[in-house]
Subunit: 360 residues, 4 copies
């Protein structure tokens, strides 16, 4: 498929489904797929509690109504038979661990937001602006596991935003990173955090989050080698807290850089960053990273929807007396950090001919 064909997308939209379509991320995926130029949402799967019901009759947790494309579909149980060849997974980790391989073995390409297979040796963990070439791991995955399908994952929400900013600085040699996140409530799904705990409070612990940020980032920034990814040796230290915000994770980041760039050079690296993503993907933001113009930005409420929720906003770049430079990053946890991340991965795969569809 030549580049121009990539940019125009498939001749006819590709049928896709969503595993775990009734959760917060599944609903957001359904919204993003409504009127999508390349994909057509034709199947929604969920737990047996919801299966058999009309999708539009289930509790919709975002403004407006369930998208028209899927409102009247009956929810299926999470069984490969009847599901389209391309499925997004917004399953929780326990379900994803066994169901995603089942779908892959049955010939489905699973584009997953679940954490279960992210750190698997043979599973690509991809952010299109950073490591699209890690998709080459799929050949190994299929061979080793005898799958006709595949599993491709995107990282944890907080990881995406951090990894993007570190990749933008990669020319300077990122040696050490201290990141402190302030994460929105929607990151915990629904019902998630009890309002009695969250209101006017900070909860300084999110189970499992910090190891995810530390290890997933190293894998994404890592080197593709025969049989796996060698993690990037950057020393990353994360603390993850929950704050009473609805959408948008804030990350306070200090970095030590091997080169000793001037502040203007670091700023330019963010401002000019375009990443490794091939052009023409519908969900790719014009600018993956944007610099905030005022000192008091980025703010989750005002800035997390930039680039239709796919842009990471960086602000407050300044010297760090302890490590070198420090800044604040913000990303939309449900879009760039979850549903949009999976969708962009699917677009990347389609553009690279990695989805089971006829090219135009």
């Amino acid at each position: 498929m030549c580049r121009s064909s990539i940019e125009r997308g498939p001749a006819t939209p590709v049928d896709v489904g969503i595993l775990g379509a009734t959760g917060v991320v599944g609903q957001r995926l359904a919204s993003l797929l409504d009127h999508h130029p390349w994909f057509r949402l034709v199947w929604v799967g969920a737990s047996d509690r919801s299966a058999g019901q009309r999708y539009g009759s289930l509790s919709w947790r975002a403004p407006g109504d369930a998208p028209a494309c899927v409102r009247d579909r009956v929810v299926s149980s999470c069984d490969p038979s009847g599901a389209p060849r391309v499925v997004f997974s917004a399953l929780d980790a326990a379900a994803a661990e066994s169901l995603e391989p089942t779908f892959a073995a049955a010939g489905h390409v699973v584009i997953s937001n679940a954490r279960s297979w992210r750190m698997d040796r043979l599973t690509p963990l991809v952010v299109p602006e950073i490591n699209p070439h890690h998709l080459d791991l799929l050949a190994d995955q299929r061979r080793a596991r005898g799958w006709d399908g595949a599993i491709v994952t995107n990282p944890n929400c907080s990881t995406v935003f951090l990894a993007m900013t570190l990749h933008a600085l990669s020319a300077f040699g990122v040696e050490r990173v201290v990141v402190s996140t302030q994460q929105a409530l929607s990151g915990a799904g629904h019902p998630g955090v009890a309002s009695l705990d969250a209101t006017a409070n900070v909860i300084p612990f999110i189970p499992g989050e910090e190891p995810k940020i530390e290890t997933e980032t190293a894998k994404i920034l890592g080197t593709l080698e025969p049989g796996g990814i060698r993690p990037h040796p950057t020393r990353i230290s994360a603390t993850a807290t929950r704050v009473p915000v609805l959408e948008g994770h804030v990350e306070v980041v200090s970095v030590e850089l091997a080169a000793s760039p001037a502040l203007e050079d670091v700023e330019a690296a963010f401002a000019r960053f375009r990443g490794e993503c091939p052009p023409g993907l519908p969900s790719a933001p014009e600018r993956p990273i944007e610099l905030a113009l005022n000192d008091d930005r980025p703010q989750p409420r005002l800035d997390c929807e930039r680039g239709r929720g796919m842009t990471v906003v960086v602000g407050r770049l300044r010297p760090c007396p302890a490590l070198g430079y420090k800044f604040v990053a913000l990303g939309h946890n449900l879009i760039r950090g979850a549903a949009g991340a999976a969708l962009l991965n699917a677009e990347l795969m389609l553009a690279r001919g990695l989805l089971p569809v006829a090219p135009r």
Copy 2:
């Protein structure tokens, strides 16, 4: 004055006043002084807007009513004549800059929470558990400025909590610190942050806060030398954000320690910390630092009132892949970080014979 006399306090309560008595910190000071065993609040000063009015008739921003001891006092203008010899200052910085020296020159001891004189070469910046001996600077201050009175300051709220934890670790040699604060709305006073900005949001900038944390901490931990304080050489990097919490600042801290202590030793250093504060001060908490027992603590709403708001709670102590160790600290910004800090300084000074009162 012998120790036992210290512990019993003054023979009769010492008359004190509050400059800036109508703000959030001034009101909290009035509450803490109600029924205080050593002090008697007899005078409240505020701007001309409030002067002449009954203190209890002004808007009281905390639960309950204005304290009985002061409810019926008429607010004075901020003029030394008529004010008691010992005054607390909860003035804003602009007013404090000129008014505090005026009071000191007129023979008053000003125990100030304002930032104006904290970094002044001849002004002690004191946390009783850390550097009570810095009060010795007062002799220089009085001599150089020809004051009968004096100015003593306590640090910025976030600084207190950080400095306490670093002092607890001082035996290990604190070399580098990265701290990210999540600060409560009450720290901005009233009206402070607009609700339209604060609700369900994070504001990643607090004007002037980060330099305060970095420089004040170094001064408090510094060495008293003839004519001033040599700042501690620790490299401290702070990022301060505002979160929609009412009271209690959270601090996410990573530290590099010269010694390479085991985790248990760091934990023990926090658990055993008692500090340099002489015994018997009424506002001193039994334990200046307390370790939280659960992973999801300390939380502002649940923990900031420990030790009557004077205890710093430390949790989540664990290795930091980037610097050495990391933890989360929490303190009550209005008590340990402001009104209680000033009050404890006053108690320390009384115990050391530094207030213009007759000992028992």
Copy 3:
């Protein structure tokens, strides 16, 4: 038992237990019973999930720690054997429905905050300031059911505050009431409302709440007749909404009064209200109803702890163009509206010799 003996309480504290001791109301009961002059908390019962564990090891959802009196007790399962003769019930309705009669049949006096038996024909629904004489129904209850023990209930949180204000106006003849409540999150217990639903939002429905307010109020204000209570004929209309507040329910009330009192008379009725509660009960507030002094009060955050959480604060009294008069009432939903309500009922019963204890 003569009055003076009532006022002094029992010769030795009465042993009591709590059914459902681990929920939000159960924990609050434990706090209120700590250092209680008349009762001694010696037993805590909860579901099998918690039974066998140390009470202090379970998640404590309020500031500070579990009260000393009960911290080291092992949680029992909810079985009458081993439980003291007097038990408070903070069970959820499903459990209360069957467990409370089991305890009553086994000779225990159950003082319940659960809704299950409130509207039962033979069960008193009591607010000591309003209808202490409804306790006389207990004789019928015991006779009809063959119980040695008993069940006594307090109303739903919102009902208490409304019923108190209506009783204060009863001399004017309350004919119609329109009440709109804005209820705190803690009223839903833990985990209760999801933070994703509650944050920066209003939920205009609380299942079951409105009928409770309408029917329970009529019963409390009703007339004791042989064999039951004849409900008060006031026409009450309630709408209950949930707002992102932690503690304290606001009620916006319009009333039509048969007499056409002057505004001053209505105000005086609130200001002078003392109610029917016998003197000397430890949890009774000095003033069951207090008038707020400013137009922008009562506010949940500033006013719900008045009278140690047992006082209902009334503000904004003014003419209602539609019905007659209108005002805003506020009460602490966990204290006056739940745990404190039950405790005050227990104190009333002890004072009236209705608890199985030896008088002094």
Copy 4:
């Protein structure tokens, strides 16, 4: 002008300006006017503090950036010379009182959201779905005041939502109304309510709001007579409270209806309501009133953007034991309740040939 010409709008967009363009409502007006089919925003006026600055350089308080159409305009002072013939006013009341007549006298049509002239005898107070014919008052206004221009007003935010629902029920004869509002913070503008007051709290008073709701509603529903409007005799009682919500006012309403319609008839009256608005106005929602489908709706966060913020959502319709029927209404305070209300009035006036522009 024939109907079809109305529906197609003007031949070329009409130049308009905004008085008070930098406040919360002024900014929202600018957003709504971006890409508007009938109007072109060419002028922004504000106080001298902002005059002379680039509009896009001023603090923008909504997600995204200031709209492209106006970003680079220089803010004018509020002087008629240089302003277009049609100006929206989002001025505060003090400024509007004198400035709006100045503009009207200078030949400008002022379409105002300010409260200053709403209750003026000769000024129409218009909601296009309810009383478009009240615009006929303009002839009297111009004659009596000798203006070439005019002032037309839209009501207070809460009033719009209430008046719409009452008008939908007008066939039944609305006799009495009790309404309790729960209003969003954005209704107070910026900085508006202090976060320290608003967070996790309810403020039961909004100065001036209740009389506005009561009197403006009666005027809108009133009868146009020679020389003025005879207010509708409905007895309306309002209580207005502030809740920690960002956008969307909730109204709890009880109504007494002269006819005694069945519940289905009341429901149908809401469902079928289309109002008196001529067809084809670009900002008019397809359905001015929509019925919520679930008991726990409408919720501000999920429902206030319905109909692009121009639809009032009604839910929980059910009998009211005190008055007849009760329901919950919700509207977007900044759109249907302010900026969108003014814009719809302008569209109505254009369609009726009341703006100083050449018809197509």
